[in-house]
Symmetry: C2
Subunit: 495 residues, 2 copies
């Protein structure tokens, strides 16, 4: 029986030792061996077609770990402690297999105070990797990840002498080295000089926005948000029952004046407006801050895609012009490095950071300390900076290809031409529905995003799409756009 | 000038290359070199007292990374791209150094909807490592961390072929391998058989509780909480304005009957009641679930310290007895492995998990994907299980020492003797204030926690302390308790 169970197909994706060990752990958990010996090293080696030595090394490491015991001339056995645990858990599982009593079950739908699953948002296809032409936004090309450098920093953080700096957790604090590096290497380049107690590490911009609204929003507090804009920002504000005000934007960014007057908070994406990619001009930035002081509102700056400018030098952050302490600043490494590690940062008045830190401790304590430390090392060795510069060059090529392809194949669409972004915001000819296009594109292996969920109004224009290019391979850009152009033509009403 | 700036003291905590590189990055960020060459390899080697080769390797890696350029016969220079960036950011910083305009600054205190900094909670001293006798709870001894095994899993997760499995982020999903391993290796041992869609990965139990209250709490919903109990649970419930009901506990755990009748949710810690360490008996567990169905309330089980039982076999989780789907289960690796990586898990009805997953996406997307993958590998290789068994043995020794010491030196205190926990809950003779003891103990290098903030009532008993032993070295236990006993005697009123 064991022969059959151990009949695993060894593959090349991980070491044989690792695969054999994983399988043995699984079989032991299922109490397969009982108090019988495991197959001998020789037998197991034959079964699996590996060297006897490979099997023996696994067995011996599992003796060291207390999984197995070696009995002289009898072979390897499962440690008796483990057998006992298995039997307890098996007996428990048996006793609980009684029939369910449906009439006693709770009514969950009545108990939900919110239904976040019903919120409309950009539908991210988890299987985007399966599309040959993923014009998806917010994901990265895994080949761009600076693997060697990250691994080196991870190795340093996991060395014996450094362990105590993160293994114990930070209670409600952050890694001081990460805060120092973010101030020195990221914020300073955005023109922001922040003190240590004005910075909080978060789990990315979404988390920064959630922490801020948790602390500041309430049903009596109005938030102005860009329209179209980031749907998940509207959703976190709505969680706090705060009224939302849709703000109009033009080619300079959010419009100042009358529309901001009754806002308590104005949320903006000055580097590249989400999703239109418009960059807020210097004049507009100054006018916005002037009005913030005059009408006593706070500006929340999501410094989104700040590193991405392929034509001009990036403008300094809005926060760098902030003389009255009216700008709360958020940024993250999700677009520039990877969304997987979930590292963001928030800059605000120290009194606010103190409260946010305590609130964060109630939410989840702190962003994982090992990732904070690895990221700090990654910044301190200059790897982040090199990576961002390398990416900017590589994205510039993609961006130029996108421009060419869009001009050639999507020529009669409304195109927002800007100095850079990881995406293009495209208005289809009005008679064409973005949903129809998204569906027909998907059928041709092309992933594009419909823009209507980014508008606040119920009767949102249905002819906008977003084309991201951070994840797609550059070879696929022109062919993908060519197919997309053809599909748009097919959808054009016959005249 | 550069000679002076490069005059760093090289230490043995990290490699020379790493230290030199970090310093050079810092100097380049500060625009120290301008368009002048860096000191030659030979000169730098002399300055720092290292081999020329060490310096050259750093220079060459920085050329590869685009930090430096090598000009033949002229030496190494800062890349011109970098100089430009520096100058922009310097010019920005200068322009923003205008005088602040205090009259235009916002009034933050008026804007705070909450003041989490004012919540009373156990004061965790960040500097607990500086105390010779840290009887602190919730931290671990860094030497117990299974470094070698964690590093191996981290190395596997960071191999080229595995990278795409976490670098792109999970949007709102979890690592399926981690979910599978938690079901198979952790939940099954607690007697819980949960389907994949009934499990959510969180950032630890605090985060699980926060997600749950965010979804389920409201001012019309009453939460019953153990008294004394976990203060940060009360605080997250209070964030949602839900009424709290203090529940009495006895030697079998929380009392069933009248006091639970008007609760919508009853939050319990059955394995070891927090903080008294009482284990809920089987009879009480069954009675609690019986009443939950009868009076239509939900039980939230924090399966806290489930692995820690030094005398008997641990009881299966309350959730394993749950026939009506009325138990929401939470657990974490914070106590058993490390609080640093922030990995917890939540088991509930799949309809609830769906909503919690969407809510989590609004809060912070997902727990970092690299940590999820490393933890999955760590479980799959059986390292977690071995670690927990090893820890149980090591803690058992400490626990016995604690018992001995407490009996010998704190003999006339009220002591809750249980079958295991990482701490002891001690009632001092009534005339002695725990705060006075905490202060005088701290002055003698002993860190103990006063228990009064764990009670709900305003007139909480002031004579309870908690003595944790997970972080203290076993050699320090008896001497520490001896000193503590002496200090208690000193505080005793003269009769």
């Amino acid at each position: 029986m064991v022969d059959f169970l151990m009949n695993i197909e060894l593959h090349q994706n991980s070491t044989y030792q690792q695969q054999i060990r994983e399988k043995l752990v699984e079989l032991i958990e299922q109490d397969t061996f009982g108090d019988k010996p495991l197959p001998s090293g020789r037998k197991m080696a034959e079964l699996l077609g590996v060297s006897r030595n490979t099997v023996v090394l696994v067995y011996e490491s599992m003796v060291d770990e207390g999984y197995l015991v070696a009995r002289e001339r009898c072979g390897f056995f499962v440690h008796s402690d483990l057998l006992m645990v298995q039997r307890i858990s098996n007996s428990v599982q048996t006793t609980t297999k009684d029939a369910p009593r449906p009439s006693h079950q709770p009514n969950w739908s009545k108990r939900l105070q919110k239904q976040p699953s019903q919120l409309s948002t950009l539908n991210k296809d988890e299987n985007w990797l399966n599309y040959p032409y993923p014009f998806i936004y917010g994901q990265i090309d895994v080949n761009d990840f600076p693997l060697y450098q990250w691994r080196e920093c991870s190795r340093i953080a996991e060395s014996k002498g450094k362990l105590h700096e993160w293994v114990e957790g930070f209670i409600d604090m952050d890694d001081p080295q990460l805060v120092a590096q973010i101030r020195q290497q990221i914020l300073s380049k955005r023109g922001i000089s922040a003190k240590t107690d004005e910075v909080l590490i978060t789990l990315g911009t979404q988390n920064s926005l959630f922490l801020l609204t948790s602390l500041l929003a309430d049903k009596s507090v109005t938030f102005g948000v860009e329209n179209p804009g980031y749907a998940n920002l509207r959703h976190v504000i709505a969680l706090c029952d705060s009224p939302l005000k849709a703000l109009d934007i033009d080619h300079q960014g959010v419009q100042v004046g009358e529309q901001l007057k009754d806002c308590d908070y104005v949320c903006v994406t000055p580097s590249h407006q989400y999703p239109t990619t418009v960059t807020m001009t210097i004049e507009r930035r100054k006018a916005l801050l002037e009005q913030a002081s005059k009408d006593d509102f706070i500006v929340i700056e999501d410094d989104y895609e700040s590193e991405v400018n392929f034509i001009e030098k990036p403008l300094p952050a809005l926060k760098s012009f902030d003389q009255d302490g009216r700008v709360i600043y958020t940024g993250s490494l999700s677009k520039s490095l990877t969304p997987g590690i979930r590292i963001g940062y928030l800059v605000a008045d120290s009194s606010l950071i103190t409260e946010l830190r305590k609130l964060r401790a109630l939410h989840y304590r702190h962003p994982p300390s090992n990732n904070q430390r690895i990221t700090a090392l990654f910044l301190s060795q200059g790897y982040y900076d090199s990576h961002v510069r390398r990416m900017r060059q590589s994205y510039e090529k993609k961006w130029l290809l996108m421009q060419q392809g869009i001009e050639r194949y999507l020529g009669d669409c409304e195109i927002h031409s800007t100095a850079g972004s990881f995406c293009f915001w495209i208005g289809l000819p009005e008679a064409i529905s973005s949903h129809l296009l998204v569906d027909s594109a998907a059928a041709h292996g092309i992933l594009v995003e419909s823009g209507d969920s980014l508008f606040m109004q119920k009767d949102a224009p249905e002819n906008y799409i977003r084309l991201g290019f951070s994840a797609i391979n550059s070879d696929k850009i022109i062919p993908g756009l060519a197919i997309l152009g053809g599909l748009i033509n097919e959808l054009r009403p016959v005249t």
